[in-house]
C-alpha cells in the first residue's frame, strides 16, 4: 500500500512570476496559476525506474508522493538512490519507466520553456552548492528572481531579510569563489527558497554547519512548510526528522518505502 506524505492545510504561496512565466501553458497553468491545493500531490511517482548512462537501474520501481506542506526526509546508505530521486524530482533525470508528476505536471510531457517554468517552482539545494562564482552572495541569492524577470528594487528587501536570517552579510561584496563552505551552503539554501517555491529539494541541508546556523536552516524550512511548500530532504542523519516534524522514508537498493515506527535505520 502506498503511503503518502501529507502536510498541513496550505495557504496560498506566491512564486514571483516573470512575464515569461505568466504565459498560458496547458501543462503548467493548473499548477502555477492557482493556489496550492492540499489535495494535489506536489510530487507523485508511480513505478518509476530510472538511472544514469553508466548505471541504468538506480531506481527500481519507486512509488512515492508528497503533498503541499509536508516535509519528507529520505534517508538511506550511499548508493541507495537518494541522489537519483532528487535528480528525478528536479527534472534532471528522465524515468525509463513509470510516471513522475511534479507540482501536478507530468514531467514527461514538458519540453523546453515549459520545463524551465516548472523548474522555477522548485527550489533545489545540492549537497555541493554550485554558485555563480563571479557574483557576490546577494546576487547569487537573488538570481532566481532575476531570471524570473523580477526587478531588483522589488526583491532586494526580502533577499536582504533572508540573508540576514541565515547569518549572511547582504553587503558582502566578495565573489562567491571567496566564500567559506558554510557561507556557500547558506547562500545555496537562501537561493533555493528565495522564490518561495512550491517544492524544495535539499540534500544534507545542515551538513557542515555550526549548530546555531543548522537550527536557522531548519527553522527556515519549517516556515516554508507552513506556507504550503512541500519539502523533500535527503540525508543520512535521520535525527533531523524530529526537529523538522518530518515524515521519514528510507531508500535501499533503488526502492523507497516509508519508515514504520520502530524501524531500525537501513
Amino acid at each position: 500500500m502506498l503511503t503518502s506524505a501529507r502536510g498541513p492545510s496550505a495557504s496560498p504561496a506566491l512564486i514571483p512570476l516573470g512575464e515569461s512565466m505568466t504565459e498560458a501553458d496547458p501543462v503548467l497553468t493548473p499548477v502555477l496559476e492557482r493556489d496550492i491545493s492540499p489535495a494535489i500531490a506536489s510530487v507523485r511517482l508511480r513505478g518509476v525506474r530510472a538511472g544514469y548512462r553508466k548505471r541504468q537501474d538506480v531506481l527500481r520501481g519507486a512509488d512515492f508522493e508528497a503533498y503541499p506542506g509536508a516535509i519528507v526526509l529520505i534517508s538511506g546508505p550511499p548508493g541507495a538512490g537518494k541522489t537519483a530521486m532528487i535528480d528525478l524530482l528536479r527534472l534532471y533525470l528522465e524515468p525509463s519507466a513509470g510516471t513522475v508528476e511534479v507540482l501536478g505536471a507530468d514531467v514527461s510531457k514538458l519540453k523546453g520553456a515549459a520545463r524551465a517554468r516548472l523548474k522555477r517552482g522548485i527550489g533545489y539545494m545540492p549537497e555541493m552548492p554550485a554558485l555563480a562564482e563571479h557574483m557576490n552572495a546577494f546576487e547569487n541569492v537573488s538570481l532566481p528572481l532575476r531570471l524570473a524577470g523580477a526587478k531588483a528594487n522589488a526583491y532586494a528587501p526580502d533577499v536582504e531579510d533572508l540573508m540576514r536570517f541565515l547569518g549572511l552579510n547582504e553587503q558582502d561584496e566578495r565573489a562567491a569563489a571567496a566564500l567559506t563552505g558554510s557561507e556557500r551552503r547558506r547562500v545555496a539554501m537562501a537561493r533555493a527558497v528565495v522564490g518561495r517555491p512550491r517544492l524544495i529539494l535539499a540534500e544534507e541541508p545542515t551538513a557542515g554547519l555550526a549548530p546555531d546556523l543548522a537550527g536557522r536552516m531548519l527553522r527556515l524550512l519549517a516556515s516554508m512548510r507552513r506556507a504550503g511548500t512541500a519539502i523533500i530532504v535527503t540525508t543520512q542523519d535521520e535525527a533531523l526528522a524530529h526537529p523538522l516534524g518530518a515524515t521519514l522514508w528510507r531508500m535501499r537498493d533503488g526502492r523507497i518505502a516509508p519508515a514504520a515506527a520502530g524501524d531500525a535505520p537501513a
Binding site: D87, A116, K119, L131, A132, E133, L143, L147
Partner: protein, 283 residues
C-alpha cells in the same frame, strides 16, 4: 548589476582573437595592394610601345614622325629616345666600352596607349604611319616582360587566396574562441538550468558577452593592422604601394569587428545551447 556571464577570465582568448584579426586584416590589405600593383604593372606594360623609324633615313625626320605618331587616335605620351639613351640601353648588353658612335642610329620613339590597346594595334600604327610617309616597325611588350607580369599577377592571386584564408581563419578563431570561453564557464550553466533559466536566457547571456568581446577584439585587431600597414607603407620598399591605397581598402578593417562579433556570438550560442542541454537533462 553583475552580468550573468562573467566578463573576467577570458583575456588570453581575447588576445588570440585580436592577433587573428590583426593578421587577417594585414593579409587582406596586403592582398588588395599586391593585386592592384600587379594590375597596374600589367596595364602599364601592355600600353607601352616602341616605334623604330626606318624611312626616311634622316635624323631630322624623327620629330616629324613623333608628331605623326602623336596624332594617331589612342596614342599618348610620345617620347623620342635620344641616341645617348639608346646607347645607354644597348650598353647593358654591349658592355661599358661601347661608344655611342660605334652604334647604328636607332631612331626610336616610345609611346603609350591611352587605353587598353587591341591585339592588332601595332599593325594599325604601322599602316597609319606609312600613310603619313614613314616606314616604321612597332614593338609591343616582349614575351619575357608579359611573362614576368603574369607571374606578378599569379603571385597577387596567391596573396589574395592567403589573405582570404587568413581572414576566414581569423573569423573562425573568433567563433571557436567564443565556444571555448563558454566551455570555461560551463560550471555556471548547471545552476542556471536548475533555477529554471531557459535555454534562450542562457544563450543570450553568453552570446551577448561573446559579441561584445568579439567586436572589441576585432576592433583592436583592425586598429593594430591599420597602424602596422601605415608604418609598412612608409618604408621605401612599399612607397609605390602607398599610392595604390584606396578608401575602399578599409572595408575589411571595418568589417572584421562586425563579422568577428557575429561569429563569436554564433559560436557562444551554439556552445551554450549544447552545454545547457547537458546541464538540464541527464544524457
Amino acid at each position: 548589476m553583475t552580468p550573468i556571464a562573467p566578463r573576467a577570465g577570458g583575456a588570453a582568448l581575447f588576445w588570440v582573437v585580436v592577433i587573428a584579426c590583426l593578421l587577417a586584416a594585414v593579409a587582406v590589405l596586403a592582398a588588395l595592394l599586391a593585386n592592384r600593383s600587379a594590375q597596374s604593372a600589367d596595364a602599364v606594360l601592355r600600353s607601352q610601345f616602341v616605334a623604330r623609324i626606318l624611312e626616311p633615313d634622316a635624323a631630322s625626320t624623327l620629330d616629324d614622325a613623333a608628331l605623326a605618331l602623336n596624332a594617331i587616335d589612342g596614342v599618348d605620351s610620345v617620347r623620342i629616345v635620344t641616341s645617348e639613351r639608346a646607347s645607354a640601353l644597348l650598353r647593358n648588353w654591349g658592355g661599358p666600352k661601347l661608344e655611342a658612335s660605334d652604334l647604328p642610329a636607332m631612331r626610336l620613339i616610345t609611346f603609350s596607349a591611352d587605353r587598353s590597346p587591341r591585339a592588332d594595334w601595332t599593325t594599325t600604327i604601322t599602316t597609319t604611319m606609312r600613310g603619313a610617309g614613314f616606314t616604321a616597325e612597332v614593338y609591343g611588350p616582349g614575351p619575357a616582360a608579359i611573362e614576368s607580369v603574369r607571374k606578378a599577377r599569379d603571385l597577387a592571386d596567391v596573396t589574395i587566396a592567403i589573405g582570404g584564408v587568413l581572414f576566414g581563419a581569423a573569423l573562425l578563431t573568433a567563433g571557436l574562441a567564443a565556444r571555448v570561453r563558454v566551455a570555461v564557464d560551463r560550471a555556471l550553466i548547471r545552476p542556471l538550468a536548475d533555477m529554471g533559466a531557459t535555454r534562450g536566457q542562457v544563450s543570450r547571456a553568453f552570446a551577448g558577452r561573446a559579441a561584445v568581446e568579439g567586436f572589441t577584439a576585432g576592433l583592436v585587431g583592425a586598429i593594430a593592422a591599420s597602424l602596422l600597414a601605415a608604418w609598412a607603407l612608409s618604408l621605401p620598399p612599399f612607397h609605390s604601394w602607398a599610392s595604390q591605397v584606396r578608401v575602399g581598402d578599409s572595408a575589411p578593417l571595418l568589417l572584421s569587428p562586425l563579422i568577428a562579433a557575429l561569429l563569436a556570438a554564433a559560436g557562444a550560442r551554439s556552445a551554450s545551447n549544447r552545454l545547457f542541454a547537458h546541464a538540464a537533462r541527464s544524457p
